[in-house]
Symmetry: C2
Subunit: 412 residues, 2 copies
Amino acid sequence: MKLTSVKGTNDYLPRETALRDFLQGKILETYRSCGFERITTPILEDIENLDKSEGGENLGLIFKVMKRGDKLTEALAGGNPKELADIGLRYDLTLPLSRYYACHRNALGTPFKVIQLDRVFRAERPQKGRLREFVQCDIDILGSSSANCEVELIDTTAKALLAVGIEHFKVRINDRRILKSLISFAGFAEEDADSVCITLDKLDKIGADGVKEELLSKGFDPDSIERFVSIMGITPFTLEEARKYCSDTEAVDSVASIMASVEALSEGRYEIVYDRSLVRGQGYYTGTIFEVESLDFGSSIAGGGRYDNMIGKFIGENIPAVGFSIGFERIASILSAKADTLPSVKKRLAVIYSESQVVSAIQTADGYRKDYDVALFEKPKKLGKLFAKLEEAGYYGCLITDESAELKVFHA
Amino acid sequence: MKLTSVKGTNDYLPRETALRDFLQGKILETYRSCGFERITTPILEDIENLDKSEGGENLGLIFKVMKRGDKLTEALAGGNPKELADIGLRYDLTLPLSRYYACHRNALGTPFKVIQLDRVFRAERPQKGRLREFVQCDIDILGSSSANCEVELIDTTAKALLAVGIEHFKVRINDRRILKSLISFAGFAEEDADSVCITLDKLDKIGADGVKEELLSKGFDPDSIERFVSIMGITPFTLEEARKYCSDTEAVDSVASIMASVEALSEGRYEIVYDRSLVRGQGYYTGTIFEVESLDFGSSIAGGGRYDNMIGKFIGENIPAVGFSIGFERIASILSAKADTLPSVKKRLAVIYSESQVVSAIQTADGYRKDYDVALFEKPKKLGKLFAKLEEAGYYGCLITDESAELKVFHA
């Protein structure tokens, strides 16, 4: 039998799990204090719902669960591999939330401010930092198109990051409507906007020349490309600069107002900047998009945006929606490296007892369990060896029931 | 697209999630205070590990995840349906724990007292109360064959049940070694013990006559059946009665000593009884087995036992192990019916603000967030309607930022 966990998944040791629980608890507490309510949805999701969800490249990364019994036999006989699965593992928490809201909205508040903190699955090629099973911490506001929702989401996410000890970060913001308007201004056809965006997303990596080259190789009109690259090449490309080329004034005003509010709320603890080349992969975004970049880690630790058309796919009526997701694994890996962020859990005591005295040992332990986490150990022949192991494992002290009632403290 | 969750899975509303989180938190806190440490293992498990795990009827209920890319193409071409999946969703937490311990044991304490609180999956026929995705709360002790482990597990599980408000329950205990010895005493061959056990498991449901009939239909020797049924029919069938027919004195002594210790520790809050017909389904149990029965609900809410041979399958060296699992869904459904067990979460306040005042509204809200969970609402035209909704949703009170700084309390 195989000893290691499935490729791309992790076993977590006790001290890692304690840190993860502590961090998730802090994030959840922050979200709740800001008026969001937690819900839980299943990990299993209907395969058709997943396939039709406009999840961008994530759609190619869905783990598919095989049909069972007669339905499997039937599907195997049919010979169409696409018929073999009826269920998939969710690749994010946004699609399940949209289905959930569509199904239960009469029982939910308006706007509905919701927390999801749970596992998602993607069949990524296992490489450093790319997990196939990982945790996301999402907050979403459904049922309101006010730009104040974006302000609340960014403010609350920043509060959660600060609460767990992530101090150096920057919020980047853009709007799909501005992107589309700029792309159209440059002369591209509306239906090419997505393809242009995919290339633009690489601006930071491949530079303006790289973007130009890739757009040319995609066969777009050279004049449009020239115009687009020269606009995008303006430095610094501020929101006021964008305003000159963007016909969607409402979108620019909305980004400006969100930025002003967040800046006031940040009180200088973090920065919010307009980023002309922020795209984000998912196809379902319709307006504002944003990311948090860790300045220590140099990469994105949270991302989100507005997806006003997703819930409409379930109920035929569009419900405005916007969400922000913390990539929990990044946070956990940043913080596990810092010794001073270890959770302030209860101190641990060991009660060491003779084999026949289990009842009185447990009764003794119970007396300490309000203040300590107390573990029982049968008295071994070599007591010194046990002491050394307990000290190494971080125990605060021990009691030996058949010697004295005195608490022996390891680290005085 | 489909609105409802996948058959056999649940969406949980905010108040249901709050209760589930509260209960899981209480159980976890109790387990930790008793010296157990939490670990996390993946939901995805190697399909071969699962298939070889002796999980009894659960082996037929494994959700299988299809291979991807070239490996899927290859498997499809091969034409063997068994080759289509490489991963499965775990059906319990015991197999992953055994693999985990085999893999990481050098980094873990001895004995290793471990908590797992997580989701498992079984492709049950969806019927009332049978979920396909559900939560288990397990504690296990690995690396010790002392019967004091059983005492600790039963005592700790009982403490967790009492902590969440389950008060009327009974612990039933048996030992696979006693069962085997009685079966052998009656004259059955050793290899028939499992089959006899499967029938015996139904004693409560089908009675002694039903057991006899089923064993006859299985083609066993009528004399053996007669002897077995007449022994099992003795009423009351105490542990002392078992001693007369059981050649494994050590097993009887062990059960007797566990019962005496647990009885002393229970201080009359619950009962522990020897149950001659307790079998438990899994094939991997080797010694003590136990269950908790809710006297209000009339069914099993926790179960476990000793499985000394499972870890050996991974490393070729047997490691003694024993575990106890709370069926969380049963607990949650019992307690959700009781109004007085609702979680003692923070009170909720609403801050109602004019659209343009989001910054000052958030700043006002922040001032209350130490003591309350505070949600923001844009001021609607019909304020009375919002008040009514907030009251109904259980808000404690509200503040209207552009009217006065005074807190309006709904339920004085």
